[in-house]
Amino acid sequence: MNNLINPTSSQSELPEIVLEPPHGWLDLRLRQLWFYRELLYFFIWRDLKVRYKQTVLGATWAILQPVLTMIVFSIVFGKLANIKPPDGIPYPVFSYAALLPWQLFSGALANASSSLVINQSLVTKVYFPRILLPLASVLSGLVDFGIAFIVLLGLMIYYHITPTWAVLFLPLFILLALATALAVSLWLSAFNVKYRDFKYMIPFLLQFWMYATPIAYPSTLIPEKWRLVFGLNPMAGVVGGFRWALLGMKAEVAPLLILAVIIVVILLTSGLIYFQRMEQTFADVI
């Protein structure tokens, strides 16, 4: 090998990167994620910029989507099916408090699961931890959530509902919703790269999941013996938590919320492992 230029002595002090065939189970490379935090910020910033570029439509959509769903639910379930929420909570605010975290979750899931495929030109041309893409999609949903939250405050004032001290737990339930969305997105986004026909199943999955979550109905409608099984659905835990924290509905808190949390932790860990194992081949397959 020709050595044409004098080696500079500082070179040997530089950090060495070793690229090898994939091996090992879980090596989260958290330090690397920290290094790329600015890029995460820029991905979120891009998503928001593009979404709110036509400001009127962007912000309106974030409000219209849950509000219209709430109106439809109020008519179909509140009036026609005559579902009465417990504790005398009016149906619109009852369903809206659940739709809020659900929209955060479903929006995040829908965006994040396609994030790798949509950004395929990036994945094949530049290196960065691929997890930034689904992570950015999940986090950027928080802005829509924040906007839609203002409507909830309006509804609560309108119906004279004062939150109890339980409202302090709200951030934890938001975190649980985000963690669930990320966990499922890790699986789905990697699946989407591998199986191109998988994306057709996601809307169906979301619809199914929504009805399995007590959003349009109170969890007290579920027969006692099934309630535990329903409680295993982390989103049921989130929705119940929202109703408890904001509307003071104690009965809505899933009986074994800790189980739901454990399930999310398992989903998230396995999702990270799967995602990381797939990560190295994304550029070859996508």
Binding site: M1, N2, N3, L4, I5, N6, P7, T8, S9, Q11, S12, L14, P15, E16, I17, V18, L19, E20, P21, P22, E38, L39, F42, W45, R46, K49, V50, K53, N119, S121, L122, V123, T124, K125, V126, Y127, F128, F191, V193, K194, Y195, R196, D197, F198, Q280, T281, A283, D284, V285, I286
Partner: protein
């Protein structure tokens, strides 16, 4: 040598072949799983070696046991014909794809530029895209802030900075993208075909900028089809063929090694191996003298022609063949596309089949010297042009002086053309 910037040890990469095999369908895999399950119930384990053979047959080695070391501060060109593994090598080093075997050691921050404008978003403005693209390429926000004015000045698009990129001409977009990339400041820079951007002036500017980068003591790995650019930027080169290193050494010897093999050798007519994956492909290229016979020596004052055969396998919209005649320094002397004539007749795509093109070159046109031919198939997309098939540096031929006045007076040719120019001489 223990002090290295890049050390590649026994690197290999295996790919599945066949474009249609690239992504799976879940329904197919479920089907296969069901079939395998049934097979497993019926057949004993003896059947498995056969299946392994089948599996190996659909895999190819894009790189095979590649090893080399690069000293810090050197600039290395990677050359080789299409499919030699150049881009795969770069993609592994850029951490985009993982090797199947072997390892790469890189000392220092790595910046890779495999494409100009990666991550540009059409809805965002030029200013916003500078930040986004910079971050994607690995710059910190602080760093972009610091270099912002320099980037803008280099791109020459100051007045459109707050216009969404979707309203940019393709030239402007490329200039902006290159400017961001050119201000990347890593210890190791990996470059793939990025110099062929913009108009001639901007290309020159880019090449100079790259020259500065190279002289700035960075380690640069440069993959290119443009041998002239490789020659001007790199002191040494690696010549790859079929995924193996054929030559490592100074750039001139590497280029010589590359040009002296197979299809690039002195043959009058090159025939390219069919590649069923390509929707359209150049199959043969030859230089014909005025009688229509394949030739390697042509008199400077005689017309001659290039003959190209192209096969179209499936309809590919809006593409066109282009020929380049390159001088001995691989600088194109003249280029011509069938695109221009095709647009006039309203023909936008070729239906599947085999096409023959004859490009007539008048004589006298080229000055005596040695030339080669490159042929590209380029698809015109909305934003830019994408060359999906190329045959490069083939059919070396010589234009010889066929008794010009210059020769008669014992003078040397200067310039690339022998096209006679009219002189008018009047005495005042």
């Amino acid at each position: 040598m223990s002090d290295y910037a890049i050390k590649v040890e026994g690197l290999s990469k295996q790919y599945r072949i066949g474009r249609k095999l690239r992504y799976h369908m879940l329904r197919d895999d479920l089907h296969m799983a069901a079939v395998r399950l049934l097979d497993g119930l019926r057949v004993t384990r003896n059947a498995s070696p056969k299946r392994k053979d089948l599996r190996d047959a659909t895999r190819v080695w894009a790189l095979k046991d590649v090893s080399f070391e690069i000293a810090p501060g050197s600039s290395i060109g990677i050359i080789g014909s299409n499919g030699a593994g150049k881009t795969t090598l770069l993609k592994i080093m850029a951490h985009i794809t993982a090797p199947t075997q072997g390892r790469v050691r890189l000392r220092g921050r790595v910046g890779s530029l495999l494409e100009v404008g990666t991550g540009f978003h059409p809805e965002l403005t030029g200013r916003e895209n500078i930040y986004l693209n910079g971050a994607i390429l690995g710059m910190r926000k602080q760093e972009i802030d610091r270099k912002f004015d320099e980037i803008v000045a280099f791109s020459e698009i100051e007045q459109y900075l707050d216009t969404p990129v979707k309203f940019y001409s393709s030239g402007m977009g490329v200039r902006l993208a290159f400017s961001v990339a050119a201000h990347l400041d890593p210890e190791i820079l990996l470059l793939d075909e990025v110099l062929a951007v913009g108009d001639v002036n901007f290309q020159k500017k880019s090449l100079n900028k790259m020259g500065d980068v190279v002289r700035g003591g960075r380690t640069v790995l440069f993959v290119s089809h443009n041998l002239a650019a490789v020659k001007s930027l790199c002191q040494s080169a690696i010549y790859l063929e079929h995924g193996e290193v054929k030559y490592i050494g100074d750039v001139d010897s590497a280029i010589e090694a590359y040009l002296s093999v197979g299809e690039l050798q002195s043959v009058q007519k090159v025939e390219i191996k069919a590649n069923e994956k390509k929707s359209a492909q150049i199959m043969t290229v030859s230089v014909l003298d005025r009688t229509g016979a394949a030739a390697m020596r042509i008199a400077h004052d005689q017309p001659f022609s290039l003959s190209i055969q192209m096969v179209v396998r499936e309809i590919t919209p809006q593409f066109f063949p282009t020929i380049h005649i390159l001088d001995s320094e691989f600088v194109p002397v003249i280029s011509s596309s069938h695109f221009i004539s095709a647009e006039e007749s309203g023909l936008h795509s070729y239906s599947p089949g085999t096409y023959s093109f004859i490009v007539d070159i008048p004589g006298p046109l080229l000055a005596p010297g040695n030339y080669r031919i490159s042929v590209n198939l380029t698809q015109k997309t909305r934003k830019n042009n994408w060359t999906f098939d190329r045959v490069e540096h083939v059919c070396p031929f010589e234009i010889y002086d066929n008794g010009s006045l210059l020769a008669r007076y014992g003078l040397k040719w200067t310039g690339k053309l022998s096209l006679p120019l009219e002189w008018t001489c009047t005495k005042e």
